[in-house]
Amino acid sequence: MPFIPHTDEDVSEMLGLIGAPSIEALFDEIPAALRIASLDAVPAALNELEVMQLMQARAHQDGRPLCFIGAGAYEHHIPAAVWSTISRGEFYSAYTPYQAEASQGTLQSIYEYQSMMASLTGMEVCNASLYDGATALAEAVLMAVRANRKSSSARILLPANVHPHYRAVALTTAGNQGVKFELLPYERGQGHTARETLDAFAGQDITALVIQQPNFFGVFEDVDALTDFAHAQGALVIAVVNPTSLALLKPPGAWGAKGANIVIGDGQPLGCPLSSGGPYFGFMSTRMEHVRQMPGRLVGRTVDLDGRPGFTLTLQAREQHIRRAKATSNICTNQGLLMLAGTLYMALLGAEGLERVAALSMQRTEQLARVLTGIPGVRRLFGRAGFHEIVLGLERPAAPVLADLSRRGIEGGLDLADYYPELGPALLVCATETKTPADIDSYGRALGEVLHAARAA
C-alpha cells in the first residue's frame, strides 16, 4: 500500500483495541446512501518508476525553449545552494510555526527575510509573504482603504500600465468590498503615466494611487512627482515594484518627499523557478504607522523565560484565526518556502550581486532591442528609459509570428493584442542576465527569417 505502513497484524490489533469488526465499520456514522460506489474515473496506481517515466515523457514533450518573455515572471540564474538548502525536510515538510519553540529555524529565517526586504524596499516593516504579486496588490488596495482614515471614497487610481493581471485580480478581490477603480491612461509614445493626468482628480477624495515602477511596459515612471501629488491630495501611495530593479532604483520608501505607504511585488525573481506561474511569493512592506492594518503573518524577536533571544509570530490580533470576521484578510497559508528561497537568494547575491544582475539584465535588454529593431518592420514603441523589458511594434499581427518562433524553439515575447489593442501589433520582450549575446543573435536571426517569410508569402 503506497505510503501506508500498516501490516495485516497491525490492522487486526488496532481494530481489536477499538472494538470494531472492520475498517468499514468505522464509517458507520455516515449515512449509507452517501457512500461512494466506485472511483473508476481515477486510474490505477503507478509505482515511482512508472510515474517518473510518465513525467519525464511529458516534460520532454514540452522541451526547453529559449524564452524572451517577462511580463511579471523573470528567468534569472538561481544559485544551486538555494534549492539544495531549502529542500531539506526540516524546512520543506514543516508547518506554519505556531509552536515557536519547535520552529525557531523557520521563525528566524522569516525575521531575516523581513529585515532584508524592508531594507530593499526602503520601508520599516515587511510581512511573511502573501500569495503572489497580483494578490498582494489586491491586499494592498484593501489595506489602503482601511489605513487611509481621511478618505471615505474607497476610490483607487489605477494606471493602465500596471500589469493587466494584477489589475484583474484587484478587481476580482476588492470589487466585492465596494472598492472603485479609476483607470489612468498612459502617454502615447512614452508609456508612462504623466503627472498632468492626475490633475483631473485634484481636490477629490482619493484613497490611494497605485504606481508600478518599472511599469508593465518596462518603462520608468516619474515616481517622485506622482507620489508627491498623491500625498498632497490626501491619498496613500501603493508601490508595485520588481525586487531585482531595487538594487539600482530609488526604493519606494524614498519616493517623493514622504515615500510610498505600501510596497508590494512578486518575489519570484529572487530564487523562484518560473514553474508555469507558481509557486512564487508576494511581498508587502509598509511603515510602522500602518502595521496594524497589514495582512499576513509577522515574526518578532523577543526573549524566552531565561531572557535568551528567540522568535515568535506576533501582532496576531490582525489575523483570521484570532479575529475571524474582523481580520485584516482571510489569508492563512502563505508562500513560506518561496520566501525562504528569496532570503537565501538575497543573502547569496548581496547588494553588489543583485546590482550586477539588474545591470546586466538591462544591458542584455538593450542589446536585444538593438538586434531586433535592426530587422525591417520592427520598431520600439516607447522612447522613454526603462528597466529590462521593452515594447516592440510589428507591421503584422504578433500571434502568427510568435507561433512560428515557437516552432523554432523560441518563446519570442508576449503578444499585447488582447491587453492593449490600441498599440497595434506589439510584443513585450525581456532579456535577463541568463540570455547570452549568442541567444540574442539567434532570436534576431529567427525573427528576421520569420518576418521575411511572412512578407514573401
Binding site: 473508476d40 523557520t106 502595521v291 470576521a325
Partner: protein
C-alpha cells in the same frame, strides 16, 4: 544552541562571488537612482549554506518528527512528487509561453482536474486558487455571483457553525458578506433548529467542514442541505478535512455546491513552513459558469486521434468571477499533487480515508484508556479527534498548552491547541494514514508519561519545554515592543 543572525556573519568586502554576473554600467536617470545600498549581508556561500542548514536543524518537521497537528493533515510528502515538479522543463517553463510548448504540462493539469472531480463528485474544477483560504474566497465569490445573476442582491449572509475555521468568517467579510454563526449541539452536530431560525431571504449560503472541526461526521448533512437549499442558499464545503473521507464519501453527493480542496493537506504537497499550498475549487452545475479563470480544456485534434489542451479564459466563461492569481495558480504544487494521485491510484485513494480514520480511532482509544478525556466519547472519531484537559486544568493546574509543550521535549510535535474554541483546554489530534501503529504507540506512551508527571511534578509541565533551543517565549513583549527587523548598531 543559538544561531546568530545572518547579518552578524557579515563582513565588508565578503561575498558569494561565484553568484555574481559580470559587471556592467547601465544608464539610469539620476533622479531614479538608488542612493544607499540595501542592508543585505556580505557573506560567503559557505556562510549561507551553514547558517540556513543550522537553522533548519532547529525545526520540527514531518521528515524528522511525528506531527499530529489537527486540521493540518501532516502526512508524509513523497519525494518523487518534488523530483517530478522540479524536472527542468517544468521548473523552467514560463507561465505565458505558448500552449504549443506546454502540452505535456497542460495534460497533467487537465488530468488532475478530472481526478479531483472524480474523488469529490463535483461537476467542474478550477485549479488557480493559491491556498485554502483563497479557494474559500473563490467559492463565496461564486455564490455571490450566482445570486447576483438571479437578481438576488440582498443575499449577503454566510452562515458558519460556531466551531468553524477562522478563515470561514474572514472569507465572508473579504467577499463583502456578513458571517452569521449557528450553534453546534452537545453531540457535535449542527443544531438544526438554530439553522432553521438562521436561514432566510438574506441567506447566501452556509460554509461547512465535514467531518467538522470537532472531529466528527455531520450525520444530518442531508437535512442541513435541504434546509439551506429550501431557503434559497447554497452550500460551501471547506475541504480542510477531506482526508477523513477521501474515497468514502464525496462532497458532491452530500449536495454541496462549491468546495475547495487543500492540495497541501489531502494530496500531500509539502507545507514549506507555512506555504505554498493550493486551493483548487470544485462546483456543482449551477455554479460552473462562475468558475475563476483560467481552466484547462481538452479538445480533440482536428486531424489524428490525439488531444490538444488549451486555457479557457473569460472569453469562454463570460460569467466567470475573473482572475484570482498573477498566472494559472501554484503550478508546481499542482504537479506534485498530480504525481501523488497517480501513485495512489483509485485503490490508494480509498485507503487514505480508511487508514486515516483507523489511526485516529486507535489513538483516541489508547489515550482514553490511559486516562485522557475525549471531548465526544459517544462519537466515532473521523481522521482526527479532540481530547480535553479541563479536569487536569482544574485539579492540577496543568493546561493543554503545558501538555503540548512537554510533548516537544519528548520528541513529538504538539497537536493543535485551543482550537476549536468551543471545547475548553483542548488538543485536536490528527495522526494521518502514513504513521505506523508503532509510532502511535510511542506517542501514547509519551502522553502517559506526561499524565503521570502532571500528577507528580506539574511544574515540569508548566515550565516545559526544557530541551529545545529556546524556552517559552515572551509573546506579550513581542507584541508590545515589536522588533520586526534587524537594525545594525552601525546605522
Amino acid at each position: 544552541m543559538r544561531e546568530k543572525l545572518i547579518f552578524e556573519y557579515s563582513r565588508p568586502g565578503r561575498g558569494a562571488r561565484a553568484q555574481w554576473p559580470a559587471a556592467s554600467t547601465p544608464v539610469i536617470p539620476a533622479t531614479l537612482r538608488r542612493q544607499r545600498r540595501p542592508q543585505l549581508p556580505e557573506v560567503s556561500e559557505l556562510d549561507v549554506v551553514r547558517h540556513y542548514t543550522r537553522l533548519s536543524q532547529l525545526n520540527f518537521s514531518i521528515d524528522t518528527h511525528f506531527y499530529p497537528l489537527g486540521s493540518c493533515t501532516m502526512k508524509y510528502n513523497p519525494k518523487a512528487c518534488n523530483a517530478a515538479a522540479l524536472l527542468p522543463e517544468f521548473a523552467g517553463r514560463h507561465p505565458l509561453s505558448s500552449v504549443a510548448s506546454g502540452q505535456g504540462f497542460l495534460a497533467c493539469l487537465y488530468e488532475l482536474q478530472e481526478m479531483l472531480k472524480a474523488v469529490t463528485g463535483m461537476r467542474a474544477v478550477a485549479l488557480s486558487p493559491l491556498a485554502g483560504a483563497h479557494g474559500e474566497f473563490a467559492g463565496v465569490a461564486m455564490i455571490r455571483a450566482y445570486h447576483r445573476s438571479r437578481g438576488q442582491l440582498q443575499r449577503n449572509e454566510i452562515i458558519v457553525p460556531q466551531a468553524a475555521h477562522g478563515t470561514n468568517p474572514a472569507t465572508a467579510s473579504m467577499c463583502g458578506c456578513v458571517a452569521r454563526e449557528v450553534a453546534v449541539g452537545p453531540d457535535g452536530d449542527v443544531d438544526l433548529d438554530a439553522l432553521r431560525a438562521a436561514v432566510g431571504p438574506g441567506t447566501a449560503g452556509i460554509m461547512l467542514t465535514n467531518p467538522s472541526t470537532l472531529g466528527v461526521f455531520e450525520r444530518r448533512i442531508e437535512e442541513v442541505a435541504r434546509i439551506v437549499h429550501a431557503a434559497g442558499g447554497l452550500l460551501y464545503y471547506d475541504g480542510a478535512n477531506l482526508n477523513a473521507i477521501l474515497g468514502k464519501v464525496r462532497p458532491g453527493d452530500m449536495a454541496f455546491d462549491a468546495i475547495h480542496m487543500n492540495l497541501h493537506k489531502t494530496f500531500s504537497t509539502p507545507h514549506g513552513g507555512g506555504g505554498p499550498g493550493a486551493g483548487a475549487v470544485g462546483v456543482s452545475a449551477r455554479l460552473q459558469p462562475f468558475l475563476p479563470v483560467p481552466i484547462v480544456a481538452r479538445e480533440s485534434e482536428e486531424q489524428g486521434a490525439g488531444y490538444q489542451y488549451r486555457w479557457l479564459t473569460e472569453r469562454d466563461l463570460p460569467q466567470s468571477i475573473g482572475r484570482l492569481a498573477s498566472f494559472a495558480g501554484n503550478a508546481g504544487v499542482l504537479l506534485r499533487a498530480y504525481v501523488y494521485m497517480r501513485m495512489l491510484g483509485r485503490d490508494g485513494m480509498r485507503r487514505v480515508g480508511e487508514y486515516a480514520t483507523l489511526n485516529a480511532n486507535y489513538l483516541a482509544k489508547l489515550l482514553t484508556q490511559i486516562g485522557y478525556e475525549a471531548a465526544y466519547p459517544q462519537r466515532r472519531a473521523s481522521h482526527e479527534f479532540i481530547i480535553t484537559l479541563r479536569r487536569q486544568a482544574q485539579e492540577l493546574g496543568v493546561t493543554a498548552m503545558d501538555v503540548a509543550k512537554r510533548l516537544l521535549d519528548l520528541g513529538f510535535h504538539a497537536p493543535t491547541t485551543y482550537f476549536p474554541q468551543l471545547v475548553s483546554e483542548c488538543l485536536l489530534i490528527e495522526p494521518t494514514e502514513t504513521e505506523s501503529k508503532q509510532t502511535l504507540d510511542a506517542f501514547a506512551a509519551a502522553m502517559a508519561q506526561i499524565l503521570r508527571e502532571a500528577g507528580q511534578q506539574p511544574e515540569l509541565l508548566r515550565s516545559a519545554p526544557h530541551t529545545l533551543p529556546v524556552r517559552r517565549l515572551d509573546d506579550v513583549r513581542a507584541a508590545r515592543e515589536p522588533d520586526l527587523i534587524y537594525k545594525s548598531d552601525a546605522r
